[in-house]
Symmetry: C2
Subunit: 102 residues, 2 copies
């Protein structure tokens, strides 16, 4: 199985997380993962090509926001919610509140 | 006195705020304004040229984060903390916690 680099959250500055969420597509990806479940990327349609989505997921992964593990031909995707909450207290809750508010 | 456009917070999507804070300089500007006071831009040294700082402040202003009013030759700068809290509950507090944590 390929291994993919996931940074330690302690190494991530806040501005990098903010930058990662500073795009409508990437914020939509994170919103889709707020349910805490492990998803396949192919479950969602964010209105962009697969290659574009992969680019966005890479930025989210490198900012410590998502866990993105290849499994065979599939690619599993989840939010690193517990680690994010530990590193940036209140952040995940803020995203939940904003998602609920539309 | 020149008037400068400040958007209504209701018109600002979360990803725009995130994007505005997705730079070390802009996050530093907002951190410097978290005391809730009105400051002059010239009080601070963010390690960038004045023209560069003006560009960053414009992005923060257009994202609804800061109030930036010219007053004679000075330029007054403050965080729109109350409006931000109303639009994005928990956001300003998150910034305060992260600033305190270093």
């Amino acid at each position: 199985m390929r291994t993919v680099f996931h940074p330690a959250l302690d190494d991530i500055p806040l501005h990098q997380v903010m930058n990662a969420l500073g795009s409508p597509v990437r914020l939509a990806v994170v919103n889709a993962l707020l349910d805490g479940e492990v998803h396949q990327g192919s479950e969602f349609d964010f209105g962009v090509a697969q290659s574009t989505l992969s680019h966005h997921v890479k930025i989210l992964r490198e900012a410590g926001l998502v866990q993105n593990d290849p499994e065979g031909t599939r690619c599993l995707l989840s939010l690193r919610a517990v680690e994010l909450e530990d590193r940036f207290p209140g952040f995940v809750e803020l995203l939940r509140v904003m998602k609920a508010a539309g």
